[in-house]
């Protein structure tokens, strides 16, 4: 057994020169008048390695943050910081609940079931231990969540960008895919309503062109076009209709 003594301290410096996640701590009141140069750098008690190799955890703490620390003895030769100190006034579950309720994808449960981390900028990581509702609510209003049914919802106040190198982005479903935008809606909701390939569309439009020419040429006045007036020149119709497939586009495409 190793006896320890518990102390209260604040973060004096969080820029560890060794970059090992240590914090320079000023214990209060035990080091209130101590020179900053003398203060000890403490290692984190929580976090660190959870294997013997390269998996590790590090939390960040602001300068001035209150912490609980412990030492092997009150001579302060060796100690650790444990975690931040609970401050009742800044801790406000209602603000968390208000933020999360704006997601409107699921109901936020009781405080007793919610675990969360609130960042300095207002972003909230949360999980509802009862329903499994969990995700990240960004201070901007964006969010990415698993809802209580296992659905995944992503909402961004800015862009959503997806990139892939030498792979494909695949949207796969059994019931259908709907793309909603301000310009219209595309719905893919069954095997009878598949999206037309460009080559297929080109073939169809060529067939329509041929069909229209054939219909014109088969007309009783075929070969003559327009009124016959002096000096009575008769023009012979030669089909010139072509389809500009390259510059063709559809304002709206609905396959159903």
């Amino acid at each position: 057994m190793i006896p320890v003594e518990l102390f209260y301290g604040i973060v004096e410096d969080n820029n560890d020169p060794l970059e090992k996640g240590r914090l320079k701590i000023r214990l209060l009141p035990e080091m209130e008048e101590a020179s900053s140069d003398h203060l000890p750098w403490l290692e984190p008690f929580f976090g660190g390695q959870n294997t013997k190799t390269t998996a590790y955890i590090k939390e960040s703490y602001d300068i001035g943050a209150p912490l609980w620390c412990f030492f092997y003895s009150s001579s302060f030769t060796r100690g650790w910081y444990i975690t931040g100190v609970f401050l009742e006034t800044p801790f406000n579950f209602d603000s968390i609940k208000s933020d999360l309720s704006s997601i409107a994808e699921d109901e936020v449960g009781e405080a007793s079931n919610i675990s969360f981390s609130r960042y300095r900028n207002g972003t909230v990581e949360f999980k509802d231990n009862s329903s499994g509702y969990m995700g990240v609510y960004h201070a901007s209003g964006s969010y990415a969540i698993f809802d209580s049914n296992g659905g995944i919802v992503a909402y961004s106040k800015s862009n959503i960008k997806m990139y892939t190198d030498d792979n494909m982005i695949e949207l796969k479903d059994t019931a259908g895919i709907v793309i909603n935008s301000g310009a219209g809606t595309i719905t893919f909701n069954g095997s009878g309503n598949t999206l037309v390939k460009y080559s297929e569309l080109s073939r169809i439009l060529s067939a329509i062109t041929s069909n229209m020419d054939a219909r014109i040429l088969s007309d009783p006045i075929s070969g003559v076009c327009g009124p016959v007036l002096p000096p009575f020149t008769i023009a012979t119709y030669a089909p010139t209709l072509t389809t500009d497939k390259i510059n063709m586009n559809a304002d709206k495409l609905e396959t159903s």
Binding site: M1, E30, E32, K52, Y72, S75
Partner: protein, 394 residues
Amino acid sequence: MQLDKGLFVEIKTNGKELVIPADWLSFSINDSIHSIYNSFDSSILDRSGKISEVLLTTPGNIFSIKFGKEYDMENIVEGSFVINDDKMASPDEGSKVYGGKVDLFGYHEWFNLQQESSASFKTKASSVANTLTNSYPWKGKNITSTQETKAWFQGLRTPARFIQEIVTPKSFSNSLTPFFAFINNKNEFNFLDYSTMFTGSAKNFYYSPGASENLDPSTLIHGISRWSESLKKAKMTKKKMSYRITDSGELEKLELNSNDFYKKPPSDIYLVSNQEGRGPTNHITTVYGRAGESISDMSYNEVNEMRESFFRERFIILLSFDPSLVAGKTINIYLYLPTDTNDSYSVRFSGKYLVEASSHIWSGETKSAMTKLVISRKYNSSIPDDFQLKRIFK
């Protein structure tokens, strides 16, 4: 005020000298290398109640005392003490007033000047002790220099508590002996290691009832009593030490012999413990440190583990009043042991001892002054190395 046969005592309280008959006053002034404050214990016969009535015996009063021999003003027991407790028993029968014998107890005046602080230092332990004692007008300061410079945190303690609880147990000398911080009966502040104290010059004293006529009476031991610390405190079994490798977190184990206290592990963080959590000298042996940290972090445990072993063999001796003998000094004692052929002295018990504690006493009832010492040493140096006692305590 003159006591008897060239002895004098001067007691001032609030700047005024207390003058009472010598047989109304009894006191002792006591120091010890194990206690940072020396103390004053007295009994004053306040028959009329007037001494108490003018508030002279009130707690908080300062009693400044000088006690010595008129022909040896170099060696005077002296100091200022703040009265901490006062006690008065029932008045004498027949007395018409509330008066009688008043018992007073006080600590050295430095006790009264203590103030908590959370200061820090980055220097040697001996410099810390020197800095924190600079503001008091000691008659002298005896400080042995330590080697390691490191950060020290007073941690909202008084200077005295900080020196006693933190600085002293974490200090050691070049000769690898522990430090002691104490005020002696000469009003000197001391921060000394055992080796420095024990190698000091020593006076000779004799317990020699069979040959006393040949000896100077001032060198005679009038009363003597011996005891030794039990070996029960010594851990006779082997201990285990574990140390942790920083890179992998693996625990490695070493087995220590019964006479090993600490060993420097090959690397990294180390833990030492034994089955009872206590070492051979009754100090907690569980420690934690890094091999890469300063030498003092490694060594103070090793040195201070052995602190009590320096005081295994003890005598209490009673001498004629000798104000030169105070805590931290040494004496040689010779115990009479006649043989068949000649008078001689015991080899087993005679030798050099450290004065662990001293009491300088004036008894008003017997009108006599005496000095009582607790003297000690580790063991007789002539004990062979293969004796268990020496193997354990080295």
